[in-house]
C-alpha cells in the first residue's frame, strides 16, 4: 500500500516538474532575449489544446459510431476544428508567448575565387588529353547513344510507328446496327425529330470507332443517315441533337458535341457549322437488309475521332 502511495507521489512530482531544483545555469548572455510571462495567454493555449484533444476524441467517437448519418460531415468537422484550434494555439504562442526577434543577417555572396578554383581543377585534370574535343565528342556520343538505348524499350508502350490503328473501325459493309440494348434497328423505326445511338453488332462498344448517331433527315429509307458519334475536334461523344420544332423561326438541325460545342449539319454530310472542329463528322453509308434493318454499306467517309497530323481531310 505504501509502495503505491510512494509511486503516486513520485508520479505527481514528476508531472508537475517539482523534482530536485535545477541547477540554474547563469549564462553571461542569453541567446533568446527574455520577455515577460503571460499567464492569460498561457491559459488560452492550454484551453485550446484541451479543445484539440476533445476534437480528436470526437473524431474517434464519430468514426466508431456505426450508424452515424452524414458521417463524412461529422468526421470532417471534428478534424477540421481540431486543426483550427491548433492554428489558434500556434498563433497565440507566436504572438504572446515566444519572443519575436528581428535579427540581421548578411546576404550570402558569390564566391569568385572558388569558382576560379573549380574551373582550374577541371581544366588541369584533363591536361593529359591531347585531343580533348574529339574525346569529349566521342564520350558524349557514346553516352547519348546509351541513353537512347535505355529509352528504346519505351517504344513498346504503344504502336508508335504504325499509326494505321487510328483509321480502323469495326464498321464494314453488311455489319448490322444495334441499339443500346443490342437489338437491330429497323429503318422504318427511325423517326424524324428523334435521335438514336447505334453500335456495331458483335463488336466492342468502347472503341472510338464504334458508336453512331442516327437521325432522319427526310422520308423513306434514303432519309436515314448515320454519323460517327465521336467529335472530330476533341473526341467527345456527339450527345446533342438540335432539332427545331418549327424550322421557320428556330435554329436548324445540328449534331452538337457538349465539350466545345462543335456543331455539324446532318443534312450536309456532317459539315461544321459552329465551333472549333476542323473536319466534318464522318458519315457511315447505310443499307437496308431483307428484314428492313439498318446495316453499314461500307466504311466511314473519313477517319473517325480527333484529327492528327497527317490525317486526310
Amino acid at each position: 500500500m505504501s509502495r503505491v502511495k510512494a509511486l503516486l507521489i513520485a508520479a505527481v512530482v514528476l508531472l508537475l516538474g517539482r523534482g530536485r531544483p535545477k541547477r540554474e545555469r547563469r549564462p553571461e548572455h542569453r541567446i533568446v532575449p527574455p520577455g515577460p510571462a503571460d499567464r492569460r495567454a498561457e491559459n488560452l493555449v492550454l484551453l485550446l489544446f484541451g479543445g484539440v484533444t476533445a476534437c480528436g476524441v470526437a473524431f474517434i467517437v464519430f468514426y466508431a459510431i456505426d450508424k452515424l448519418g452524414h458521417e463524412t460531415q461529422w468526421l470532417g468537422l471534428a478534424l477540421g476544428l481540431a486543426f483550427a484550434l491548433l492554428t489558434l494555439a500556434c498563433i497565440v504562442i507566436a504572438r504572446r508567448l515566444v519572443v519575436t526577434e528581428e535579427l540581421p543577417e548578411p546576404y550570402p555572396e558569390d564566391h569568385p575565387d572558388e569558382v576560379e578554383t573549380i574551373a582550374e581543377l577541371i581544366d588541369e585534370s584533363g591536361s593529359r588529353f591531347t585531343r580533348k574535343r574529339l574525346v569529349t565528342l566521342a564520350g558524349a556520343g557514346a553516352l547519348g547513344t546509351l541513353g537512347l538505348a535505355a529509352l528504346t524499350p519505351a517504344a513498346s508502350l504503344g504502336p508508335a510507328l504504325d499509326t494505321s490503328a487510328l483509321k480502323k473501325t469495326p464498321w464494314r459493309r453488311g455489319r448490322r446496327l444495334v441499339d443500346e440494348s443490342g437489338k437491330p434497328i429497323p429503318a422504318a423505326d427511325i423517326e424524324a425529330e428523334a435521335f438514336y445511338t447505334a453500335y456495331p453488332e458483335g463488336a466492342d462498344r468502347e472503341l472510338i470507332g464504334s458508336p453512331l448517331v442516327v437521325v432522319r433527315i427526310g422520308p423513306g429509307n434514303a432519309g436515314v443517315v448515320a454519323y460517327s458519334k465521336i467529335c472530330t475536334h476533341a473526341g467527345c461523344a456527339i450527345a446533342l441533337y438540335r432539332k427545331p420544332t418549327f424550322p421557320d423561326t428556330q435554329p436548324g438541325p445540328a449534331l452538337v458535341c457538349p465539350c466545345h460545342y462543335s456543331s455539324f449539319d446532318p443534312a450536309k454530310n456532317g459539315k461544321v457549322i459552329f465551333g472549333p472542329a476542323g473536319r466534318p463528322l464522318p458519315r457511315l453509308p447505310l443499307e437496308i437488309d431483307g428484314e428492313g434493318n439498318l446495316r453499314a454499306a461500307g466504311g466511314f467517309s473519313g477517319p473517325v475521332g480527333p484529327s492528327w497530323s497527317g490525317v486526310r481531310r
Binding site: 470532417g76 492554428t87 498563433i91 423517326e191 418549327f246 465551333g275
Partner: protein
C-alpha cells in the same frame, strides 16, 4: 416511397403558379377553350390551329399532351415567335387551362395527357436511359446546359407529368421520342431518375449545385483561398505605409 414523399410535397409547395397542379372537380369547357384560344394563341397558330408561316407551327395532332405541357410550363403564350420558350408564370386558371387543352385536343387526333407511374419504376434503368438520351443536353445530374442557339433548362422544376410530356413533345430544339424510341415503361424509369436527381444521395456535405468543377473552383477561390490569405495576413506583417 418514404424518401420520395417529401420530394413530392416540396414540388407541390415550390410550384409558383396557381394553376400548375391539376385540381379535382374542375370541368373543361371546349367553348370557353375556343375563345381563350382565339384570344391568346390564334395570332401565331392561326384561327383554326392550322399554323402560320414564320409565326407558329400547326397544332393539328398536337393533342392534349402538347397543349397541357406548353400551357402549364408557361412556355406558351410566347411574346415573340423567334424567342426560346422558357418557364414563366402561368397566366390561366385551372379551369381555363383545362378548357384550352380540351379545345386544342379537338384539332386533329393528338395524344392524351400521360400520367407516368414512376413511383415504382427503376431509378437505375432510368439513369442509364438518361445517360444515353438526355445527359448530353440536360447534364447528367439535371443541372441544364447549353447548345449553340439555346439554353437547356435544368430539370428541377418540371413535374413528373411535364417530364413525360416533354419527352414525347420535344419542345423547341429538343428531339422528341415516340413510344417506339422510349417505351411507356422506360419513360416511367426516366421520370423516376429525374425525380431522384432532384434530391440525389448527397454524401459529403453541401452539394454546390451538382455541377462539378465549376462551383468547386468558386469554393476554392472564394472560400479556401480567401481564408488562407486572411490567415497569412493574420500571421505575417503588412508593409508600413
Amino acid at each position: 416511397m418514404k424518401r420520395l414523399l417529401p420530394i413530392l410535397v416540396l414540388l407541390v409547395a415550390a410550384t409558383p403558379a396557381r394553376a400548375a397542379t391539376p385540381q379535382e372537380g374542375v370541368v373543361a369547357n371546349v367553348t370557353q377553350g375556343k375563345s381563350l384560344y382565339a384570344a391568346n394563341c390564334s395570332r401565331c397558330h392561326g384561327s383554326r390551329g392550322q399554323g402560320l408561316r414564320d409565326q407558329g407551327p400547326s397544332l393539328k395532332d398536337a393533342g392534349a399532351l402538347a397543349a397541357d405541357f406548353y400551357v402549364r410550363t408557361g412556355y406558351m403564350p410566347l411574346d415573340n415567335p423567334h424567342s426560346q420558350p422558357w418557364r414563366t408564370r402561368v397566366l390561366f386558371t385551372e379551369q381555363e387551362i383545362r378548357s384550352l387543352v380540351a379545345y386544342v385536343a379537338t384539332i386533329g387526333h393528338g395524344p392524351a395527357i400521360p400520367s407516368p407511374q414512376w413511383q415504382t419504376a427503376s431509378v437505375a434503368a432510368g439513369r442509364q436511359l438518361f445517360a444515353d438520351h438526355c445527359a448530353g443536353c440536360h447534364q447528367i445530374a439535371i443541372a441544364g446546359g447549353v447548345l449553340p442557339g439555346a439554353r437547356i433548362p435544368p430539370l428541377n422544376q418540371p413535374t413528373p407529368r411535364q417530364i413525360a410530356e416533354a419527352v414525347r413533345v420535344g419542345p423547341y430544339l429538343m428531339p422528341k421520342f415516340s413510344t417506339k424510341a422510349i417505351t411507356p415503361t422506360q419513360l416511367n424509369d426516366l421520370v423516376a431518375y429525374v425525380q431522384y436527381a432532384k434530391r440525389p444521395d448527397d454524401r459529403g456535405g453541401w452539394a454546390i449545385g451538382h455541377l462539378g468543377p465549376w462551383p468547386e473552383g468558386m469554393v476554392t477561390w472564394l472560400l479556401a483561398a480567401s481564408i488562407l490569405v486572411a490567415t497569412c495576413l493574420l500571421i505575417g506583417r503588412r508593409l508600413k505605409a
